[in-house]
Assembly symmetry: C2
Homo-oligomer: 153 residues x 2
């Protein structure tokens, strides 16, 4: 008898998030992507569209949650994001009680992983070179837009 892991395949789902980030980069946008999934289903994915939609709230995680639509519960879901979440996206994770977050990298933007963990959220931090490479390239090419996206920090 095999026991299915309760979570999605992290490699597969991070690949979806990275594809979103690459799509954003190709569009000239901030290359952050995200995916929301249960063990058996991809519920939605999205990427940062600050530039594309002139929308400062369209971070990758927000675009992903928007794409996943209304849900009465996020139990059993994992949110994948190529970059450590900002305060707004961390707040969204806490609001909707998403139990598990997998972060592609936090070298180019640290976020506040302890804040998420203090709310009982399981946070897995990877050091994915694909994510680092995308963000490093964007920060080099567009430092002004990047600064704007994270509130001038």
């Amino acid at each position: 008898m095999r026991h299915e892991p309760p979570w999605p395949d992290d490699d597969d789902m991070m690949r979806v998030a990275i594809e979103e980030a690459r799509t954003g980069f190709a569009e000239g946008g901030v290359p952050v992507g995200a995916a929301l999934a249960t063990r058996t289903e991809l519920l939605g994915s999205g990427h940062n569209e600050r530039i594309q939609r002139h929308d400062p709230t369209a971070h990758g995680e927000i675009a992903c949650l928007r794409a996943a639509g209304r849900r009465s519960s996020y139990a059993g879901t994992t949110l994948y994001t190529t970059l450590s979440p900002c305060p707004m996206c961390s707040g969204a994770i806490i609001l909707f009680q998403i139990p598990r977050v997998v972060i592609g990298e936090r070298r180019t933007y640290a976020g506040d992983v302890d804040f998420l963990r203090s709310h009982g959220i399981e946070v897995i931090v990877q050091a994915d070179e694909r994510c680092v490479a995308l963000m490093s390239e964007f920060q080099r090419l567009s430092p002004q837009v990047w600064s704007e996206d994270i509130g001038g920090r």
Copy 2:
């Protein structure tokens, strides 16, 4: 010589936020409205559109920030909201370093005003009966949607 106050007229701007909330209520939505303004200019306003757009991230404050579009700085702005901000919207306020927030009421949803203040944000809490009446009516009519909107709390 007259000294102009550095902030918008709070009564005028709260009226804009309440009009947004009423529009949302008339559309069958969650009646929370918001406005972003400088002393001299209304930058944007919006209302919760969870139901209307099937978008769980479209809280009033997020819709308002979206309507205001991209900004390199939020210095000198005040965010008006008819209801105390949730964790996601509080995170957005912190991310964009909005220096001042005026809250219509926090009786029907307390939010975390101390969290905002701990980030140096000036928070003014009113007890506006117009805001309380709208939210109370909505919570009575649609308790399930309301619960969904605040993550099942």
